[in-house]
């Protein structure tokens, strides 16, 4: 058994999955650190679910390796994972509590957890109603409840807020945050609802056509997407020097006929005055902002 020296809960190395001639996952190197809420983003069919299935042993990789909790003894490691992949897999002829009791055996969970978790996900009062008669949202909650059995250290959730109403989405979001902050549970979650994901995610992985295009922390992403001054001038190099004098901490990206300045304390009027006083012809100064959604869409290969 090889033990890695880092604290990655999930680490894949050139993980590849092909079906016939079709490559669904292409040399993916993913890194989910302890304590992350890792938002996994990609268009439908990009490979999100396939990767999650490989991590959970539901499918076998064509090539590449993975480690979970720093070990390649995957079966043992999976005992510490709770998951919900695609639609919840449930025994429709049974009650929610019976579904929980059955899976509690597999999760080595105490049956006393069952009622507590059901209440936690808002299914405490469904009584003897059969799961087959549940709404999609209720099934989704039960799927999450099953994933929570046995106090897992990692939750892998594929589109967990699908079918939930706004209130339900907020509850699940708050639930994941609580589990992460109070119990230190690492979360790997995919969703196509970027705004919802952005509210809780600490790190993003963007996948497109089976390739992991980028992994970026939420902090870095915010920096990428924050407001900046876009200055159009024929003398960008001179302008950059003048702005550095004005604000040494400003981040400046000079282009051929323009420059972008990121500094939340810098005011456009002051910049304009400094440039004019320094003899720089300023064609325009405008505020520009990369929207997070645009950032993702650009990396996911444009709109679907």
């Amino acid at each position: 058994m090889s033990e890695s020296q880092n604290n990655y809960v999930v680490e894949t190395n050139n993980l590849t999955k092909t079906y016939g001639s079709k490559t669904v996952l292409d040399h993916v190197n993913m890194h989910v650190a302890q304590g992350d809420i890792y938002g996994f983003i990609g268009k439908n069919g990009a490979g999100k679910t396939t990767l999650m299935k490989l991590l959970l042993g539901m499918s076998q990789p064509t090539s590449g390796t993975m480690s979970l909790f720093g070990t390649d003894k995957l079966s043992l490691a999976r005992h510490h994972i709770g998951s919900l992949i695609e639609e919840p897999a449930l025994y429709h002829g049974c009650t929610a509590a019976e579904n929980m009791r059955r899976f509690a055996i597999l999760a080595n969970a105490d049956t006393s957890e069952v009622d507590e978790i059901l209440r936690f996900v808002g299914l405490g009062d469904v009584g003897t109603k059969k799961v087959g008669k549940f709404s999609l949202g209720m099934k989704q909650r039960l799927g999450i409840a099953i994933a929570m059995l046995g106090h897992p250290d990692l939750l892998i959730l594929d589109e967990p807020i699908n079918g939930l109403d706004p209130e339900g989405i907020k509850e699940i979001r708050d639930l994941l945050l609580r589990l992460n902050r109070e119990q230190g549970v690492t979360v790997l979650v995919s969703s196509h609802l970027l705004d919802e994901l952005a509210k809780i995610t600490t790190r993003y992985g963007i996948i497109n056509h089976g390739r992991l295009v980028e992994e970026i922390s939420a902090e870095d992403l915010m920096k990428q997407c924050q407001q900046k001054l876009h200055i159009v001038t024929e003398q960008p190099a001179v302008a950059a020097k003048l702005i550095k004098k004005l604000s040494p901490k400003a981040k400046i990206t000079a282009n051929e006929n323009s420059l972008d300045v990121v500094d939340e304390k810098l005011e456009s009027a002051k910049v304009n005055q400094a440039l004019v006083n320094g003899g720089v012809d300023v064609t325009s100064i405008t505020f520009a902002a990369d929207k997070m959604e645009d950032y993702f869409i650009q990396r996911m290969g444009g709109r679907a």
Binding site: H79, I85, E87, L90, Y91, E98, R102
Partner: protein, 248 residues
């Protein structure tokens, strides 16, 4: 493995299908005996009726239905995802299902035998001591059950779809053997003294001498020992191989 066995056992205990399927068999036995009594058919002794209870009732067909439902259940409901995702190996999952379902088939066989015996006694059939031959027949019938269970369980796991598995278990095997028999006879039609009969190797035909009450020939004894085990190895092995590679 212990968790998996507990899990399968819990599912089984609450399975309505199990009770309906085998309950139906008991009803059939009762009706058949009632009908025989009403029609005044010659009564066999209760012990002999118990010896032929497995082959003489609908138990085999019902076992085909029950095993299709049981073996395919987690695949068709996709709940197998939840089991694999908790770190249980595919081999452990497969053999836990195999063991639990085999125990149920054994239990059902014993229940059918005892029920047939008790019913026969109630209907006034006389009782004889169980002979050494009958003890041997019981043992061979349980060996035969390992074969038929392996066939149905392995096939059902391979096809994964409940409906197809039920159809295969009920009619598929007989159909395949009939077609093979026809094909072989067509191929060897001009060969003199050709007396190979493939249906001799069909499990149902292996069972017949065991419940007939007649002494077994050496060939029948060898077939009763070898064929059920061969079926179990081939079909349980085949189901295991398929379960290892299947994406869920």
């Amino acid at each position: 493995m212990m968790n998996l066995l507990k899990f399968e056992w819990r599912k089984l205990r609450q399975s309505k299908a199990l009770y309906i399927v085998y309950g139906l068999g008991l009803v059939t036995i009762t009706l058949m005996m009632l009908l025989s009594k009403i029609m005044g058919a010659k009564a066999d002794n209760a012990t002999a009726m118990m010896t032929s209870a497995i082959g003489g009732s609908s138990m085999i067909s019902l076992t085909g239905i029950y095993l299709a439902l049981f073996a395919c259940g987690d695949y068709s409901q996709h709940t197998i995802k939840n089991i694999y995702a908790r770190g249980y190996s595919r081999t452990a999952v497969y053999f836990s299902k195999y063991l639990v379902s085999l125990l149920v088939v054994f239990a059902a066989a014993i229940m059918y035998m005892v029920y047939t015996f008790l019913l026969a006694v109630i209907f006034g059939n006389h009782v004889q001591n169980i002979s050494a031959f009958q003890w041997g027949s019981f043992a061979l019938q349980f060996l035969w059950l390992i074969g038929i269970h392996g066939l149905y369980f392995g096939l059902s796991t391979m096809v994964e779809k409940t409906g197809i598995a039920v159809a295969l278990n009920l009619f598929g095997i007989t159909l395949v053997f009939s077609l093979l028999d026809l094909l072989i006879n067509l191929i060897f039609v001009k060969v003199d003294n050709f007396n190979f009969n493939i249906t001799d190797y069909q499990l149902e035909y292996v069972l017949m001498p065991l419940i007939s009450g007649q002494a077994l020939t050496k060939a029948e004894l060898i077939r009763a020992l070898v064929i059920p085990l061969s079926y179990a190895v081939v079909f349980v092995g085949g189901g295991w191989l398929v379960s290892q590679r299947r994406d869920v």
